[in-house]
């Protein structure tokens, strides 16, 4: 694959493609040097006869997820319209932000890209300025800042909270293993492993052929966490984030979402090993901290956009919410049923349950209850640790519309 029809492209364009790749990388697309070389090759092969072919040639190399398309599209149009824009982009990427250097005269949609470029640098700068100090979103409005800062120190003292976090960080959550379709060698297995048998037979020259066995490998199913971060949950949501972070870094196949008035996928942020940086990034991303809850709407979004992508292969869902819904349970019943039908087990963790006199009166709670397999409390460290009992072994699944949780609770 060396004799391409077209001439190799010259320095200027190759440079520009490289800068374009770098701009995209800063904007969050996973682009390494290999991709840039591929892109230059792709452009060489496709030839630059028209803008559209050029666009799609770069697209085929630089984009590898659907949600990156928009970012690519905007970056492409900004970058390749005006060569001067390149310099402005680069100035944006420098740590020292000039006041007027980064102004765009591009139309409105490019704002998002600029935000992406802008934010990244500011994060770094901020981290440089306060090393080791955990600061929540210091750029938001004053009132937003108060809500965020007030969030963690409500019930526990600072030391208690720090202590609790340490405990949470070391928590492990055993999920039951379910049989997969794969096999592994096992002397007590029930199936003959022909390949191993033959190899063993050869060792003895074929005179004796000792049977080797294998059995089904077992593996934990994917875990999906949906966590409510609305105002009524604010005393718990931050601690729960630490919990979710601990689980995410303990195993693979964990997907986490937070919701208040809208749904945010936070899986990527939780991959960050340092829990404080992870939580800080999430706080920046999520716009609906400690606001209202619209469980029905956000669940609908989850079902429409995410359920097929993360609930495959029999996922277990942890639904963490107090069930207090601003929309008073509109759509909630149907969406909850859809969610339950799409997963292996649906476990509802509700901090309100700690009150002895808890009765499912709210309409939101009434709508959710019939569709969950298990209903537990989460209000202290013990209840988090107890989760292991629920997840540790395979338990019967509640069939839809056969019984109602209300009766079993009563």
């Amino acid at each position: 694959m060396t004799d391409f029809d077209n001439e190799p492209i010259g320095g200027k364009l190759a440079d520009n493609i490289m800068y374009f790749g770098r701009a995209l990388r800063v904007a969050g697309l996973p682009i390494g040097p290999g991709k840039v070389i591929d892109a230059i090759k792709a452009v060489e092969i496709a030839g630059i006869t028209n803008r559209s072919d050029f666009y799609w040639a770069l697209h085929s190399v630089f984009v590898n997820r659907r949600d990156q398309r928009e970012m690519f599209d905007q970056a492409f149009h900004i970058f390749w319209r005006n060569p001067d824009m390149l310099n402005k982009m680069m100035s944006l990427m420098l740590p020292s932000m000039g006041a007027g250097g980064g102004e765009f005269d591009a139309p409105a949609p490019s704002q998002r890209l600029r935000d992406a470029l802008f934010q990244e640098n500011e994060d770094e700068r901020e981290r440089d300025m306060n090393p080791g100090e955990i600061e929540l979103d210091s750029r938001g409005s004053a009132s937003a800042r108060e809500i965020l800062q007030g969030m963690d120190f409500e019930t526990m003292s600072v030391e208690e909270l720090a202590e609790a976090r340490k405990v949470v960080a070391n928590m492990r959550l055993p999920i039951m293993d379910v049989p997969t379709r794969r096999f592994k060698p096992d002397s007590r297995g029930r199936r003959v492993d022909m390949r191993a048998t033959l190899r063993a037979g050869l060792r003895s020259g074929g005179a004796v052929i000792p049977l080797k066995f294998r059995k089904r490998a077992r593996r934990h199913p994917p875990l999906v966490i949906l966590c409510d971060i609305s105002g009524s949950m604010s005393r718990y949501s931050r601690m729960l984030l630490h919990f979710v972070h601990a689980i995410t870094n303990d195993r693979d196949r964990v997907h986490s979402f937070v919701f208040g008035t809208r749904l945010t996928n936070i899986t990527r942020f939780l991959r960050q090993r340092d829990v404080d940086i992870a939580v800080e990034q999430i706080t920046e991303q999520v716009e609906d901290w400690s606001g209202g809850t619209r469980i029905g709407v956000t669940l609908k979004e989850f079902n429409a956009i995410w359920s097929r992508r993360v609930l495959g292969q029999g996922a277990v869902v942890l639904f963490i919410s107090d069930g207090l819904d601003r929309d008073a349970g509109v759509d909630l019943d149907a969406e909850m049923e859809r969610l339950h039908k799409s997963c292996r087990r649906l476990i509802w963790l509700n901090p309100l349950l700690r009150f002895d006199g808890f009765e499912p009166k709210s309409r939101g709670i009434k709508a959710i209850l019939p569709h969950v397999d298990d209903f537990r409390t989460v209000h202290n460290l013990n209840s988090l640790a107890d989760l292991a009992d629920v997840l540790g072994k395979e338990q019967p699944r509640k069939e839809e519309s056969l019984s109602t949780m209300q009766r079993s609770v009563a």
Binding site: M1, F4, D5, P30, G32, G34, K35, D38, K41, A42, I45, A46, G47, S52, D53, W56, A57, H59, S60, V61, V63, N64, R65, R66, R69, T180, R181, R182, F183, M194, R195, T197, L198, G201, L202, R203, G205, G206, A207, I209, D252, N303, A304, R308, R309, V310, G312, Q313, A334, R338
Partner: protein
Amino acid sequence: MSTAIPKDIDATLDLLTRGNYIADRSLATTLFLALKMGRPLFLEGEAGVGKTEIAKVLSETLSRPLVRLQCYEGLDVASAVYEWNYARQMIEIRLAEASGDIDRERLGQDIFRNEFLIKRPLLQALEVAADGAAPVLLIDELDRTDEPFEAYLLEVLSDFQITIPEIGTIKAPEPPLVIITSNRTREIHDALKRRCLYYWVDYPDADRELEILALKVPNAGEKLARQVVAFVQEIRKHDLFKLPGIAETIDWSTALIQLDKLALDPATINDTLGVLLKYQDDISKIQGSEAARILEQVNLEIAQAGG
């Protein structure tokens, strides 16, 4: 005799058209690059938008064999790459024993020979035809398999070679043309995607869908085809759990022809909605008055466009 791969984007577009596949120029560009650069083409999109079809068309128009690997959870080396023919190997050992000739070294070589190897799709894809042309390898619905298999694919897809411990490494003299499809029931790892060229296959617009329908269901009358396409296009704007793909449009048209319908009417739509929508929630949303309303709107639009 196989055909050479197309030499530019226009030729690629022609090639797809010859195979009765109506494609956007953007798809042709990506496909052309994949063929030319020898990279796998990674196609993602909703079910029923014609991802698998691309591989079939490619194999047909380029006259190369199609090797298909359908993925499923727990897919392992024994069913994707190769397996030894154990029964024959056992007999071989017994024969060696009977002849009293038990030389372990030789026996080992004897029973791990090519003729005892059962080749599965991935291994088959490394073989070339008599004229030296590589086959088209379709790895269908990769998202259905699990991560370990995906990791295994990395070696195969980057070097086009497979290592069999008993024999050694088998390398493709000519790399196959690889098409990977995914319905996105889970995200494929970046390491694999990085080696591929990516394309998101979207639902077609009305004109393109009409073209496709004219090709795939030629005996549908023009009126019916226009109604069907407009109806499906309208339904795709609705908030449904599973939107109908092109495959559903084609199925529905075929179903309507089987019922000898020349035009859509509300009763027929209600009776045949199960061909188009596959979830009860979705059907109950559209069935009845909503279907009638959409049909009315569609008819109005067609009348306006015609007049």
